[in-house]
């Protein structure tokens, strides 16, 4: 893996080079505050953790435990077909870093719903599926997430779809049990409707 492979998911060349430069400067960066180091994350995950990058999730407002658990899986290189940049980024993180990034992202203001209107039929189907499959039981009735279970409300639709599909295919092993039973009976179309509903949730 070359350095250039790290930010292929990011939207513009200029952002890529900013990211690459920051990453190469990693040793001095490691001594900086979590807030300062998080700016590197935002190159892909969006300003203040609200992503506008295809397939890259928003981190703002995620539960601290969820962030910590996912960074742990990246550090262990067990997060399936994730962008390789994440494995590089997490490799040198300490346990304290996992906690620090978790707490930091949890404090940031989560994204709101998209300006566009949802497709009413898909939104309704997604809502019915979410209720049927007990999504709010773990992810909270307002989909704000808690502990190892991520915030789903107003997450990027393309990322939600990918995550559901990866859980079903086994590309993404959940942190702890639960998701494996939920996704097993669902189809791709149902994943798409769920992702649409959650992305536009209000």
């Amino acid at each position: 893996m070359t350095t250039t492979g790290r930010f292929t998911g990011c939207p513009t060349a200029s952002r890529f080079w900013i990211g690459a430069a920051l990453l190469l400067a990693a040793p001095p960066v490691l001594s900086q505050s979590i807030e300062k180091r998080a700016e590197l994350c935002f190159v892909c995950h969006g300003a203040q953790g609200r992503s506008s990058t295809p397939l890259v999730p928003s981190l703002a407002g995620q539960p601290a435990f969820y962030v910590m658990a996912q960074l742990f899986l990246f550090r262990d290189e067990r997060r399936g077909t994730a962008p390789p940049g994440m494995y590089d980024a997490a490799r040198r993180l300490t346990d304290g870093d996992l906690r620090g990034f978790g707490e930091h992202f949890a404090r940031l203001k989560p994204p709101g719903p998209p300006a566009a209107k949802p497709d009413p039929q898909r939104f309704a189907r997604g809502r019915a599926l979410a209720e049927e499959h007990h999504c709010p039981v773990c992810h909270n009735p307002d989909y704000s997430g808690r502990e190892q279970m991520p915030r789903l409300a107003n997450q990027r639709e393309d990322y939600l779809f990918k995550a559901l599909r990866d859980y079903k295919s086994g590309n993404r092993v959940p942190y702890g049990r639960g998701m494996e039973e939920v996704v097993a009976p669902l189809t791709e179309r149902e994943f798409a409707d769920l992702a649409h509903y959650l992305a536009y949730f209000r």
């Binding site: 910590m68 262990d76 978790g102 404090r107 039981v137 502990e147 702890g176 039973e181 097993a184």
Partner: protein, 407 residues
């Protein structure tokens, strides 16, 4: 909602604090009028049920001096100590011929460990990592067998090669590979065959004949045959030292109610018996969907029910000599404790005492790990040591405790 600093103690209290902060929903709407058929009975109207979720263990094991050993209660004359710590996600345990304790893990760690006793100090070595839910392990004739939802592999001569483990030999690679209830508990029976479960790939469904059974195979992977049918998800079984009969724990379905069904301990008296899943639960009730036209009397009843959603994991017949005589040939069973139940309980080790007729009753043994409706630890497996002491793994804290009697 104020974001709390993540600390191990704080983590445990998070969900409770949130539950208290949230306003209670208004009175339940008349469900039957507004809900589609599939939704009836889900725990929507109950604020506490809406807060249930799998209880996560942090990705960092609890430091040795922070482990909850002082909270653990045992019958008189027994004592408990920390035997080993810093074993993230410690689950199944097996004893090697040369005294190595092999430890498996599941979702969190994906590793196999070897714990070596060095003059009273335990050294933990990671001998395999990045494995796919490697819960099932067994030790036999110098080799360690490791089962994932997909395959069974073997590490030959492992105890002499803990620092440079051999490349594993593929024994069998035809397990269905599903994640739901696909992780394994494996054990070699008195007949020399390796027994393995394939759990139901769902919470509740009527699966094909690949699933919901305990099978056995020859140690070279040939001769797979079904031994037990109608099993949902066993994560622990063993053979009675006197009768040779197979006993297994079975985790029953979720979401039916707080107090039903009851998890099971079953006794197999002949091959091919059907233990009810998905038609009959706990020997007591037919399933509200799959049970129509079925009767519980057509299935083998559990030898013992052990409480709703109690989550029976590792179990072993006690064959040691250290403990009082009443525990000879009794089962020690780790109950992981429920997640999908408002009131948490179990997270303990129970003793199951069996009389000459096979009647079983349950007594508390290792308790004290539930406090303020939170788990301080969660037993996952038990292991009888050569001196008769009992090791208990705790995946929540990444530790192993040792229970001994007398002296």
């Amino acid at each position: 909602m104020k974001k709390t600093v993540i600390g191990l103690a704080v983590l445990a209290s998070c969900s409770l604090a949130q539950a208290q902060d949230k306003p209670k929903p208004g009175p339940a709407k008349p469900a039957a009028e507004e809900e589609p058929f599939w939704a009836i009975g889900r725990p929507k109207a109950n604020a506490d049920a809406m807060k249930m979720a799998p209880v996560p263990a942090p990705p960092i094991p609890t430091a040795a001096d922070k482990l909850p050993v002082k909270k653990i209660k045992l019958p008189p004359g027994f004592k408990v100590e920390v035997w080993a710590s810093n074993i993230l996600d410690a689950r199944g345990m097996r004893l090697g011929d040369k005294g190595t304790v092999f430890v498996s893990s599941l979702f969190v760690a994906g590793k196999i460990y070897a714990v070596v006793d060095k003059g009273g100090q335990r050294e933990v070595k990671t001998i395999a990592e990045k494995l796919f839910l490697p819960n099932g392990i067994e030790f036999h004739k110098g080799a360690l067998y490791v089962a994932t939802p997909k395959d069974l592999t073997r590490y030959d001569g492992i105890e002499d090669r803990l620092d440079s483990p051999p490349k594993p030999v593929m024994v069998y690679d035809k397990f269905p590979g599903d994640v739901p209830h696909g992780w394994k508990f494996i054990k070699i029976g008195p007949d020399g065959k390796l027994y393995f479960p394939v759990g139901a790939p769902c919470n509740i469904c009527d699966p094909s004949d690949k699933y919901s059974q305990i099978f056995r195979m020859n140690l070279d992977g040939t001769g797979v045959e079904s031994v037990v049918k109608g099993m949902r998800n066993t994560v622990g079984f063993d053979w009675h030292p006197k009768t040779g009969e197979l006993w297994f724990g079975d985790n029953q379905r979720d979401w039916l109610s707080e107090d039903m069904p009851l998890d099971e301990v079953n006794r197999v008296t002949k091959p091919g018996q059907h233990f009810g899943f998905p038609y009959c639960h706990s020997g007591l009730m037919t399933d509200p969907v799959y049970g129509w036209g079925k009767s519980c009397k057509d299935y083998v009843k559990p030898a013992l029910t052990i409480g709703p959603h109690a989550a029976p994991l590792g179990m072993r017949f006690y064959t040691g000599k250290m403990f009082p005589a009443k525990y000879r040939n009794a089962i020690f069973l780790a109950r992981h404790g429920p997640w999908n139940r408002t009131e948490k309980y179990a997270a303990d080790v129970v003793a199951i005492l069996i009389d000459a007729k096979g009647n079983a009753r349950m007594e508390p043994f290792l308790t004290g790990l539930v406090e303020n409706n939170q788990y301080l630890g969660r037993p996952a497996d038990v292991l009888v040591m050569k001196d008769g002491s009992l090791l208990v793994s705790d995946d929540h804290n990444g530790a192993i405790y040792r229970v001994s009697y007398g002296k």
